[in-house]
Symmetry: C2
Subunit: 406 residues, 2 copies
Amino acid sequence: MPIEITFTPNTLGVTDPKGFFAKGVSADVRRKGNDRLDTGIVFSKTPCAAAGVFTKNRVKAAPVLQCEGILNSSTAIHGIVANSGNANACTGEQGKVDAAQMADQAASACGVPGNSFLVCSTGRIGELLPMDRISPAIAAAGRAAQAGDTDGESFSNCILTSDTRKKTCTATFSVGGKTVTLAGSAKGAGMIQPDMATMLAFITTDIDAGEVALKPILQEAVKHTFNAITVDGDMSTNDTVLVLANGASGVRLDDSALEAFKEALFLICDNLADKIVADGERITKVVELLITGADTEKGAENIARAIGNSLLVKTSWYGNDPNWGRLMDALGYADSEFDPEKIDISYGDVPALVSGTPIPENKPQWKTVVSERRFTIHINTHAGDASYRLRASDLTEGYVDFNKSE
Amino acid sequence: MPIEITFTPNTLGVTDPKGFFAKGVSADVRRKGNDRLDTGIVFSKTPCAAAGVFTKNRVKAAPVLQCEGILNSSTAIHGIVANSGNANACTGEQGKVDAAQMADQAASACGVPGNSFLVCSTGRIGELLPMDRISPAIAAAGRAAQAGDTDGESFSNCILTSDTRKKTCTATFSVGGKTVTLAGSAKGAGMIQPDMATMLAFITTDIDAGEVALKPILQEAVKHTFNAITVDGDMSTNDTVLVLANGASGVRLDDSALEAFKEALFLICDNLADKIVADGERITKVVELLITGADTEKGAENIARAIGNSLLVKTSWYGNDPNWGRLMDALGYADSEFDPEKIDISYGDVPALVSGTPIPENKPQWKTVVSERRFTIHINTHAGDASYRLRASDLTEGYVDFNKSE
C-alpha cells in the first residue's frame, strides 16, 4: 500500500527535520552598511550522508569545485555554509583558498572535523569575497547552530539575492510508527547587483541513507524539476542542489521507505523549482509547456526549451497574446523530428492547431487562457511517445531594465 | 593582379545591374486602407541563372517550398515576385496554391513562361494571403517591369516590414573593358504586426553565370554574413537569399572574373547583413564578437552565439555595462572545449581578462568602449586556431514593448 505523504509549502525549511540546526546572520557582504542577512549555516551534530548536483557550466565557481572535492573524499558531512552577495566565481586561486577557508571556519565554529562542511556562494562574479567580514559572521552563525538554534527562517532569508521572498517547503511520511521529514530552502534565478542568475537549493532530511543511495534519487528528482525550468536561459556558474540525510528519524532508506522518500523528495524539488520560476526577475507569467508525442525525450526537451527560451514567444506571453505562429516557428528550429502538418497545439484545454491547421474560431478562448498568470500549453507532435515538461516565464521590460547595468 | 572593386552603399539596389527592371506597388496586404508599398517584381527579359539559400527551419513557409521546387526544376529564371505584410506561412494547401499563383501571375504579366518566377513573402504568419488584392498588384508591377521600369527604390521599399529604412548596395568591377555590376536589396529581422522575424535578400548581377557555379559561391558568402548575425536568436520560417545572374554584362564567370565576383558578392552580403543588425528592432548597439583560438570553427561559432543570444549579455550592452562576468558565464555553457584559466577577453583593444585573470584597472576604458554604438569584443580561448565572427545587437525594453502583443 502506498505511504501517504504530507506536504506543506512555506515552512521553516531546513530545520524542520529532526537534528538540523541553522542560523543566518549579516556580514554585509555587499558593503552597503546595512544588516541584511547574507551568511548562514545549516548543521547536524550527527554526521550526514550527502549528495549534490551541480551546474554543468564549464566555468565553475570555487565553492562548486570545493563541494565536488569534499563529496568525493568525505563520507561524514556535518553541514553547509553559504553566503549571498558574492558568487566567488572567476576569482582564481584566492577564490579556492577562500572557499576552503569558509568550510574550515564553519566546521571549527560547530566543533566538528574540518572537511565536513559544504560551501555555497551566490551573487556578484569576479570579485574576491570580503573574508574579513565573512569569517566573523561564520563564527557567529556556527556558534548559534552548534548551540541548537533552529532558526530556519533566517537561513532561508540569508541565501536570497534578487528574490522577492524566501522559498521553503516540507514533506513528511511515516514508516513503522516513525516519522521521516524532508525540507528544503532555495534561492531563485535572480541577479545580485546584476550579475549571475544563480540557483541554490538545500534539502535536509532525517532519514538514514547512504550517499550511494541518495545520489541517483536526487539526480532523478532534479532532472524533472530544477533542470526543467527557465527564466532567461542562462545557466550559471554556481547552480547547486545539496541534500543532507542525518538519520535522526531512525528510519532506514530501505525498500519499505524508498518509494515514499523518492516521491517526497520530488515534491520538495518540484515546489522549490516552481517557486523559483514564479519569483523570476520581473516576470508576470508562469507557463507550463507540456510536450507529448515527441520522437525522443531529448527531442521533446529541445522543443520545450526552444519555445521557453524564445524571446518572441516570451514577449507575446507578456502581452497576453496567444501567438501560436511564434510557437510554430520555435518548434521548427528545435532539434526534433516531426511533420509540421501533424502538430496539435492547445492553450489549456482549448485547441489552437489541430493537425497543423489553425482553429481561429477558438481565438477568444485562447486569449482568455493566456491572460491568466499561470497556464499550460500542450503540444503533441505525433512523432512518437516521448514527453517533457518545462516551466518557463515570460520576458518583460522590467527584466531588461533590471539587468541593463550595474 | 587583383581586380579592383567599387562598392557603394544605399543605392537603387536590384535595378543597378544591366537588364534588370523592377517595380513596387501597393496591394494593401495589411488591410489598413493605405497605399504603403507591399508588392513588387524584379524582372530580367534575358533568362537568368539563379541560386538560393533558405531557412533551415523545419516549418517552411509556402513560398520557400515553391522557390526550392522551381530552382530544382527550372534553369531559366526571369524574376522574383515578393510581398510584405503576410508571410504565407502555416497556411496549409491553400498557401501552396497561392504561392504558385503569385509566380504564375508575375510570369504572365511579364510575358514570360510560367515556372520562371521565384516568390517570397514576409509578414504575419498563419493567415491566408489576400489574393483578391495581391493579384491586380502583381499584374500592375509586372506590366511596369515588362515595360522597362527601373524603379529599384519602390521595390526595395515594398519588401520592408518593421524596418525603419531600405537596405541596398551595389558593387562593380571591370574585366576586359566590360563592367560587371552586382546589387542587393534586403529586409531585416523585424516583425510585421508582430509575428515572424524574417530576413529576405535579393541580389541581381549582369554577370554570365551558370547556376551550378553560383550556388556554392552564394552559400559561402551567406555563411559568413547573413548567417553570422543575430538580433533575437529566432530563426524564421521565411528567411531567403536569392541571386539572379542575367549575363547582360557580356562577362563570363570564368577564372578571370571568379575572385572579383566572389569578393563583390561577399561585400554585398556583408553590407546588407550589417544593415539588418543595425536596423534590428529597437536596438541601440551593434557588437562584433570576434572569437579566435577556438578548438574548432563550430566551437567558435557556439561561443559567439551563446554570447550574442544571452539575455543577460544583451541587456548589459544596452546598459553600457562591460559585464565580462556574463561573457564568461555564456562561454562556460557554450559547446566548445577550452580551459577557463586561459581565456583572454578584450573590449576593442582594451584587455579585460588575460589568462582568465581580470584587469580591473582597465575598467574605465572598457566602459568607454561599451558606451559606443558599435564596438568589438575579442575573445581568444587559446584552445586551437579556429575563429568565428558574429554581429549581434543588444536587447532593449523597446524590443519587449514592440513585440509583446498584436
